[in-house]
């Protein structure tokens, strides 16, 4: 038994000794809560405690996290729990009562609409992004029809789009993803994607796109990366690049509202959190700083359904 303990001791000691090289001499991290709140609205702290649970869209997650940090700073006893899992999971969770707020990129389906209340907190644009290579150098933009052909599997090679010969590798999002639903309904007229590998984690998807030759997928603009080729939409009127200006003007078609659904009678805390996210303070000061999100008020076009 002594032999065994010393064996273990030696192993662990070795590991720790090697890890001493990782001694943390870096700068102290920035304070975890912004001590100087963006505005003097710190008076919102009225000693409430409780939890707000939200789940759903990963596209909305960066924005909800930004709101969560501010909200928790102002209400010290409150905690906001946000988890991802996809828009459809968010809708299912909020309808089943597992969470109070369901984040979704898509409108709630008909059978759930009656029991849920919609709060639109932002607008997000989506674009087709692909692995950058010599095969698609000459293709800055694609028509919606061609995009539909690529993602439904009708077009399988970049040369059919005007580039050089290279097979197209389609990477899809998970079936529960709101990004997939939005992209599908606007570009393909439904979920008509060719069945291929799915990667739902946006970070991992970006990494995969960079690494796989000829790969193409669709992401929220918050994840646009200079090492990827982001396609604009080509139409008879010319090429429309995906950016805030074209989305608000309505010339770039692939966008959706970010919905935060609650059950008809949300809890007080959930309501407060949503009120904060819809407040001018958040929409004008914090939201523009989070990459890829557009305030709803700036939109010159609107939609009732996907």
């Amino acid at each position: 038994m002594t032999h065994q303990w010393t064996l273990v001791a030696r192993t662990v000691a070795l590991a720790l000794a090697l890890s001493a090289f990782g001694c943390d001499k870096s700068q102290p991290p920035a304070p975890e809560r912004p001590q100087q709140a963006a505005s003097a609205a710190a008076k919102a702290d009225n000693g409430q405690t409780g939890t707000v649970q939200a789940s759903g869209s990963s596209a909305l997650q960066p924005l909800v996290n930004a709101a969560k940090e501010q909200f928790e700073a102002r209400n010290k006893g409150v905690s906001v729990e946000v988890s991802a899992g996809g828009s459809k999971k968010g809708l299912a969770d909020v309808a089943a009562g597992a969470v109070q707020i369901g984040d979704s990129d898509i409108f709630a389906p008909e059978d759930l609409k009656a029991q849920l209340v919609d709060h639109r907190v932002a607008v997000v644009g989506f674009a087709a992004m692909a692995n950058k290579g010599p095969f698609n150098e000459k293709i800055p933009a694609i028509t919606i029809l061609d995009l539909a052909k690529v993602f439904s599997g009708a077009v399988t090679d970049w040369k059919q789009l005007g580039g050089t010969a290279q097979p197209i590798v389609v990477i899809n999002r998970a079936p529960g993803s709101g990004t997939r639903a939005v992209f599908g309904s606007i570009v393909l007229g439904g979920d008509k994607f060719v069945e291929s590998q799915t990667e739902d984690n946006s970070g991992a998807l970006v990494a995969k796109l960079k690494q796989t030759k000829g790969a193409i997928s669709y992401l929220a603009l918050s994840f646009a990366d200079p090492e990827l080729r982001v396609f604009g939409i080509k139409s008879d009127a010319g090429v429309v690049e995906p950016n805030a200006a074209s989305i608000t003007a309505g010339t770039y078609p692939i966008w959706s509202y970010e919905h935060m659904y609650t059950k008809s009678q949300p809890t007080t805390l959930a309501k407060q959190f949503l009120d904060y996210m819809l407040s001018p303070d958040f929409q004008e000061h914090t939201l523009p700083n989070v990459k890829g999100f557009i305030p709803v008020t700036q939109m010159k076009v609107s939609r009732d359904k996907d």
Binding site: S19, P29, T51, Q53, V78, V80, G85, G97, S202, A204
Partner: protein, 382 residues
Amino acid sequence: MNTATQSNGQGALHRGRRRGSAIESVLLKLLGAGSILFALGYVVCLLYLLIKGASKIASFTTYASPLAGVDNESAMRFVMGVCVFGVLGWLGVAGVRVIVSRFGVWTSAADRVGTIVAVVVALGGAVIARDHLPRFLISLPSETTAGGGIGPEIFNTVYFAVLSTMITLPIGVGAAVYLARFARSPRFVAVVRVALDTLASLPSIVYGLFGFLVFVVEMKMGYSLFAGAVVLALLNLPLVVGIAEESIVAVPRELDEASLALGATPIQTTARVTLPYAWPGILSALVLSIGRVFAESAPLIMTAGTTISRASAYSLNPFRGGETLAVHLWYVNSAGLSPDKVDVSAGTAAMLVVLVALTNLLAARLARLGGAEGTRVRKATR
């Protein structure tokens, strides 16, 4: 084969001349090399994991890590400090013991002194260095930014082990005692055994589905640790009942009969004679079940959720949700957006390996203390 050995009578003794023996020895060497490589592969993987994760875990901060303003955080830091410095102290003492045993004699008095030194180092270090602990082990996780830690996850993992053992222990040991000693009808015993076999063969997602429907949806509890603990207890029930029953059956009948002859009731016999004798085996079953608690993730995703909330990160309320280390490892890789997720994953995985190894060592140590041998060993080492 027989004809070969007979006609080649002397060949049976001189193996080198037997037909096929050259091939055999080559194959033997290959098989041996293969087996050793097999085990070495696991060792290399695990050590690599430990080293990669240890640099994340063990990076002590040279500056004071700010409190995150979470309830019970100082208590958690103290406990974590005790563990960390306890391990360091124990390692030091073990090292000293190895050196001293090489050159001299290590007496039991020295043993006691060593233990005291380790305890003092643990407590002292925890108090002094409370604000300089490894940042990874006490900070909250982060969904989208770098620098997240696994403090609440470690707490939840240990809390789950405690909660589910609290449920498994009475029911599992109770069922085992019933099956081994008090069952009246053989048919009912057969039914219970079939039930246990069935429970053991259910895939773990089924437990998750069950827990989700019953606790999260029907009882409207939302994601909660309680639901997860019940599900894990059910998962471990066959294992615990099986091993506990084995241990109880292994108790010599003479002991029970002697106790009954002295006038004790069957219950008194069980409680004061049988169970203490079988206790090390039962304890090792519980420790194995704790190892399983650390390892499960699918049932917990559906019942306890995947979130950590600031207000209840270290709270003892079992009706709040929370993720464990295994769930965190999965979640960070499938839905996490933080840029340092490879490091965080390595640290989480290393922490899991450390916890599992400790649990295993504990189980091995306890299993050796079973039966009459165990009583003697325990008395001798007191």
